[in-house]
C-alpha cells in the first residue's frame, strides 16, 4: 500500500513524468500511427463491402474511433480534474491542457466524418438524431472548457476552474446522452458492445478494432509529448529544466 502511494506521488512530480513521457511517448505515437495506417489500408482496401451500404460504410474505420475517443478523452479530463481537486496535483492540470484540444478535434472529426457518411446513407449532411446531437453538445462542452481556460489569466486559478467544469461536465454527460436518446433516435445501434458478439464478420470488425486501438495509442503518445512541452514551459525556472536545456543546447 505504501509503495503504491509512493509511486502515485512520484508519478505526480513533473520531473518524473517528463522522464517517463520522453521514453514512452515516441513508442505510443509510433505504435498508434502504424496501427492506424494498417487498419485504414486494411479497412479501406481489403475489407468486404457492406451488403446494404456498399463501400460508404468504410468511413466507419475513421468515424468510430474518433467518436469513441471524443467521449473517452472527456471522461479522462473529468478524472484528471478530480485528481487535481482532491490531491492538488499540478501535473493533472498539465494533462488537461495537453489533452483537451485533442479531444475537441476528435469530436469535430467524428461530426465531419458522420456528416460525410450521412449524405449517401441518410440522404442529408445533417440529421438531428440522438448520437449526432449528443456529439454536438460534446463539442460545445470542449469549447466551453477551452474558452474558460483561456479567459482566466492566472495559470493556477484557470486550472482549478477548468477541473471543476470538467467534473461537472463528466457528471452531466450520461444525463445529456440519455435525454438526447429519449428525444429521438435514428442512428445505428452501437458498433461495439462489451457484452455481445459483434454483428459484423471478423474481416470487417478486426480492422476497426485495430483502428480504435491505434487511435488510443496515438492519443497517449500525443498527450505524453504535449504534456512534456507544458512541463518544460511551466517549470522553466526550476534547476532541472535549466540543466536539461543547457545540456541539450550546448
Amino acid at each position: 500500500m505504501a509503495s503504491l502511494k509512493e509511486w502515485w506521488h512520484r508519478l505526480g512530480s513533473p520531473r518524473t513524468f517528463y522522464a517517463i513521457a520522453q521514453r514512452a511517448g515516441p513508442w505510443f505515437t509510433g505504435l498508434g500511427v502504424a496501427a492506424i495506417v494498417v487498419a485504414l489500408t486494411w479497412g479501406l482496401a481489403f475489407a468486404p463491402p457492406d451488403y446494404q451500404q456498399g463501400n460508404s460504410f468504410r468511413i466507419m474505420y475513421l468515424h468510430v474511433p474518433t467518436a469513441i475517443l471524443a467521449q473517452s478523452v472527456y471522461m479522462m479530463l473529468g478524472a484528471a480534474g478530480l485528481v487535481l481537486l482532491v490531491w492538488r496535483m499540478k501535473l493533472a492540470d498539465m494533462v488537461i491542457v495537453a489533452a483537451a484540444p485533442f479531444g475537441m478535434s476528435m469530436t469535430a472529426l467524428a461530426l465531419v466524418t458522420g456528416a460525410i457518411w450521412g449524405k449517401p446513407t441518410w440522404g442529408a449532411w445533417w440529421v438531428w438524431d440522438a448520437r449526432t446531437t449528443s456529439m454536438l453538445v460534446q463539442l460545445f462542452l470542449y469549447f466551453g472548457l477551452i474558452a474558460l481556460r483561456q479567459a482566466i489569466p492566472r495559470e493556477e486559478t484557470a486550472g482549478r476552474a477548468c477541473a471543476i467544469l470538467a467534473v461537472v461536465g463528466t457528471v452531466n454527460i450520461p444525463i445529456i446522452k440519455y435525454s438526447v436518446d429519449w428525444w429521438l433516435t435514428l442512428h445505428q445501434p452501437s458498433t461495439f458492445t462489451l457484452t455481445a458478439a459483434p454483428s459484423m464478420p471478423p474481416e470487417m470488425y478486426l480492422p476497426l478494432l485495430v483502428s480504435v486501438l491505434g487511435f488510443y495509442a496515438l492519443f497517449a503518445g500525443l498527450v505524453f509529448a504535449r504534456t512534456s512541452n507544458v512541463i518544460l514551459d511551466r517549470e522553466r525556472s526550476t534547476a532541472w529544466v535549466r540543466a536539461l536545456v543547457r545540456e541539450q543546447t550546448s
Binding site: 481537486l85 453538445v137 460545445f140 462542452l141 469549447f143 466551453g144 474558452a147 474558460l148 479567459a151 482566466i152 493556477e156 486559478t157 482549478r160 476552474a161 471543476i164 467544469l165 467534473v167 461537472v168 461536465g169 457528471v171 452531466n172 444525463i175 445529456i176 440519455y178 435525454s179 438526447v180 429519449w182 428525444w183
Partner: protein, 233 residues
C-alpha cells in the same frame, strides 16, 4: 478584549433565511433589474409571431419549444450578476469565512435568484402561452415543468457564474459553459409540453425533471461553492 463575547454562530437555517432576505431586499431596491429578464422573455415571445407569421396552427406547433428555449435564455441573462456584486464588495469573502459551509450561503443566493427570475417566468407562462396560442390543455404541464426546470437552470447556471466570477466581461463565456448543460432540461421540459399538446401522457418526462431537480439541487451548490473558492483565491 476578554469582555467581548463571541457572537453565537448562526445555524445553517438562520444563514439560509437571512441570506435570502438580504438578497431579496437588494433586488427590490432596483426594480428595473428585477424586471429585465421577464421583459426580455415577453419581448422575445412577441418576436416569434413576427418572424414566422401569425398563423395560429404554426404558432401552436412551435409554442412548447419556443417557450422553453426562451426560458433558458432569460435565465442566462441574470446569471452574470448572481455573485458579481458580492464578489466585488467583499461580502462573498465573508460568506466563505463563515462558520457554516459555503454551499449553504450559495444555495441561499441561488434561491433568492430563482425567486426573482425563475418564479416570475413560471407565473408569466400563461400569458406567454396565450401569445403563442399554446393549446390550453398543455398549460398546467408548461407551468409544472417550468416550476421544476427553472431551479435546475438556476443552480447549474450558478456553477458557471461561480467559475467566471473573477472575469470582467463573462456573459458570452458563461453562455458557452452553461447552455450545453441545459440540454437535458430543455429536452424534458419542451418534450413534456409537446407530448400533452399531442395528447400523449407526459408523466415520465415530468418525473425525470423532478429527479433532475432533486439531483441538481443537492450536487450543484457544492460545485458552485468550489468554483467561488477558486475565484476568491
Amino acid at each position: 478584549m476578554s469582555s467581548v463575547s463571541l457572537a453565537a454562530t448562526p445555524s445553517a437555517s438562520m444563514l439560509l433565511v437571512g441570506q435570502v432576505r438580504r438578497d431579496l431586499k437588494i433586488a427590490m431596491r432596483s426594480p428595473g433589474d428585477l424586471a429585465n429578464p421577464l421583459m426580455f422573455y415577453a419581448l422575445a415571445v412577441a418576436l416569434f409571431p413576427l418572424g414566422v407569421g401569425p398563423s395560429p396552427e404554426r404558432l401552436a406547433e412551435l409554442a412548447p419549444g419556443v417557450l422553453w428555449v426562451l426560458a433558458l435564455l432569460a435565465t442566462l441573462l441574470g446569471l452574470e450578476t448572481l455573485f458579481r456584486r458580492d464578489f466585488e464588495e467583499g461580502t462573498l469573502e465573508q460568506l466563505a469565512l463563515h462558520a457554516q459551509p459555503l454551499f449553504v450561503g450559495v444555495l441561499a443566493k441561488i434561491g433568492a435568484h430563482w425567486l426573482v427570475t425563475g418564479l416570475p417566468l413560471v407565473l408569466f407562462a400563461p400569458i406567454a402561452a396565450l401569445m403563442l396560442n399554446l393549446p390550453m390543455q398543455a398549460l398546467d404541464t408548461l407551468m409544472i415543468t417550468l416550476l421544476l426546470g427553472t431551479p435546475i437552470l438556476s443552480v447549474l447556471g450558478a456553477v458557471g457564474a461561480a467559475l467566471t466570477v473573477s472575469l470582467r466581461r463573462s456573459s458570452l463565456l458563461l453562455a458557452l459553459i452553461v447552455l450545453p448543460l441545459y440540454v437535458p432540461v430543455l429536452i424534458l421540459g419542451a418534450g413534456a409540453v409537446a407530448a400533452v399538446v399531442d395528447g400523449v401522457d407526459s408523466t415520465a418526462q415530468v418525473a425525470w425533471l423532478a429527479a433532475l431537480c432533486a439531483l441538481a439541487l443537492t450536487l450543484a451548490p457544492f460545485g458552485a461553492a468550489a468554483g467561488l473558492r477558486v475565484g476568491l483565491d
